[in-house]
């Protein structure tokens, strides 16, 4: 079973060809990053998968259904660069939002939100207002919210883009743990090469005008309990390993090649 399957996807905005012949498949539980210069269509691609944007041509399947059906069934959760929390709701009520929209009973919602806040390490802040939290904590709430309907797929559009470097690295480790525990596949848009490499099973390198996939590089996502010389199971070890730097170099070269085309 595949989480996402894209085939021959084109997307044009008038004369601009934002996406051109995209072929990509995400397996269950796989972590895939999209990286490329501004205007390469990586965010558009994510939005097409989310059914927030309609492709001009090609087919998009999420969890074996059409992208539209998958959105209606809440098969995916999504997190944006801004946390987008509703500031008049408590942290727990924000996490409950997708469940409330889907008509889940209050008691069940409460329990699920408590569970998720535990998962993202914010159990003590269930009754707080978003404005009382730091940027990193707000983003963790947004991730908990995205995971609320137990989606098989998590879509993330530069979720750590507005965070400082230290917080960002901590959030990456958190995300790896959360993705591992929830078993969800992740499609992750980023500008940062090290971020893409440390998080991903595969890094999809894109180039602009028209937006297309130029190369797919293996990432260095640590797999707990499956440590090898190439892939240690601790994220800090990964960041200091030679394999990490060689993967960064490979992505950088792919980006440069894409630029020259």
């Amino acid at each position: 079973m595949t989480a996402v399957s894209l085939s021959g996807v084109d997307k044009s905005f008038g004369e601009v060809r934002a996406l051109d012949g995209i072929e990509l498949t995400l397996g269950d539980g796989e972590f895939v990053s999209l990286i490329g210069p501004s205007g390469c269509g990586k965010s558009t691609l994510l939005r097409v998968v989310a059914d927030l944007e309609q492709p001009t041509a090609g087919t998009v399947e999420v969890a074996g259904k059409s992208a539209h059906r998958a959105r209606l069934d809440q098969e995916y959760g999504i997190a944006f660069q801004q946390s987008g929390l509703l500031e008049w709701r408590t942290v727990a009520e924000n996490v409950e939002l997708p469940l409330q929209v889907h008509g889940m009973a209050r008691a069940e919602r409460r329990a699920r939100a408590a569970e998720l806040l535990e998962l993202v390490g914010l159990a003590d802040f269930a009754g707080s207002r978003p404005s009382q939290l730091s940027g990193g904590m707000q983003q963790r709430v947004a991730i908990a919210r995205a995971l609320a309907p137990s989606p098989r797929l998590l879509l993330m559009d530069e979720p750590f883009g507005a965070l400082d470097e230290m917080t960002r690295e901590r959030m990456q480790a958190e995300l790896l743990r959360i993705a591992g525990e929830s078993g969800a596949a992740v499609l992750f848009v980023t500008h940062s090469i090290p971020e893409a490499v440390v998080l991903s099973d595969r890094v999809v390198v894109m180039s602009p005008r028209p937006g297309r996939i130029t190369e797919i590089v293996d990432g260095r996502r640590p797999r707990p309990g499956e440590a090898t010389d190439l892939a240690p199971d601790d994220v800090e070890d990964v960041r200091e390993s030679g394999a990490f730097f060689s993967a960064i170099t490979a992505v950088r070269e792919a980006l440069r090649k894409g630029d020259a085309v």
Partner: protein, 255 residues
């Protein structure tokens, strides 16, 4: 804020106000200003003391009219704004009418309403207040309802929320601070409208009618006493509006 800073903030205008009153008293007494021009504060204070029960009763009547009109106008303004935000047709029908209402001078409406409803009822005054209140509440609420953050709109779309859920979870709660701003602006205006409406006949039981009759009877200090009561009533509504706004929006911070 520290206690000392608060004290200073309150004390400064109080001291200033007392200084102005003293200066006023000295100038009026020393220069022998005639009472019809400007009565001395001491004369006004004497009248406030003598007329106190009447002041309270008339302020109660005028305040009551202002409150009834404020509530009616507030509800009408919010409902119209919600309808206008929800339907293009309603918006195009209602918005120009409400904005035109803001250009209507209430002085023009007051005598007409009095003739329409008769001079033995409070309805004309309350109607004038309602018309005055609807405008700021409508404009402010509509702005709030239109101001949905793009990220919230995207989020609700990704959740496949229905238009009603979108309104209930995002649009309406998001507009609350704007609604409260409209209320805060409308509250003191309601008092002004209630007083001015009384200048044009009808029952002689409110602050406005007392001011005009006292002035007409050359009881200048008494007229000023009712003016002072009007100022107090206006301040009361202003502070109440501010308090309600603070209470309702205290859990939010603007980002």
């Amino acid at each position: 804020m520290t206690g000392r800073a608060t004290t200073a903030r309150v004390a400064a205008p109080v001291v200033f106000g007392i200084a102005v009153l003293v200066l006023w008293q000295v100038v009026v007494t020393a220069a022998g200003v005639p009472a019809f021009l400007l009565p001395a504060p001491s004369a006004i204070a004497t009248q406030i003391g003598a007329q106190f029960p009447v002041l309270l009763a008339t302020a109660g009547i005028t305040g009551g009219n202002a409150l009834v009109g404020l509530v009616a106008g507030f509800l009408a303004g919010v409902v119209l704004a919600v309808l206008a935000a929800g339907s293009r047709l309603v918006q195009e029908l209602v918005t120009p009418v409400v904005l035109a209402a803001s250009a209507v001078p209430i002085v023009a409406l007051a005598p007409v309403f009095t003739t329409m409803f008769g001079s033995t009822t409070e309805i004309p005054r309350r109607l004038v207040v309602t018309v005055v209140v609807i405008v700021p509440v409508f404009v402010s609420t509509l702005r709030g309802l239109r101001q949905v953050q793009p990220v919230h709109a995207e989020l609700m779309a990704s959740l496949a929320a229905t238009p009603w859920q979108q309104a209930r979870f995002v649009r309406l709660p998001g507009a609350v601070p704007y609604v409260m701003t409209g209320l805060r602006l409308a509250a003191p205006a309601a008092v002004v409208a209630a007083i001015v409406a009384e200048y044009f006949g009808g029952l002689q039981n409110g602050l406005g009618s007392r001011i005009s009759s006292a002035a007409a009877n050359t009881a200048y200090a008494r007229a000023w006493a009712f003016v002072a009561a009007s100022i107090a009533l206006g301040l009361l509504f202003f502070l109440a509006g501010l308090l309600v706004e603070r209470l309702v929006t205290r859990t939010r911070t603007s980002r």
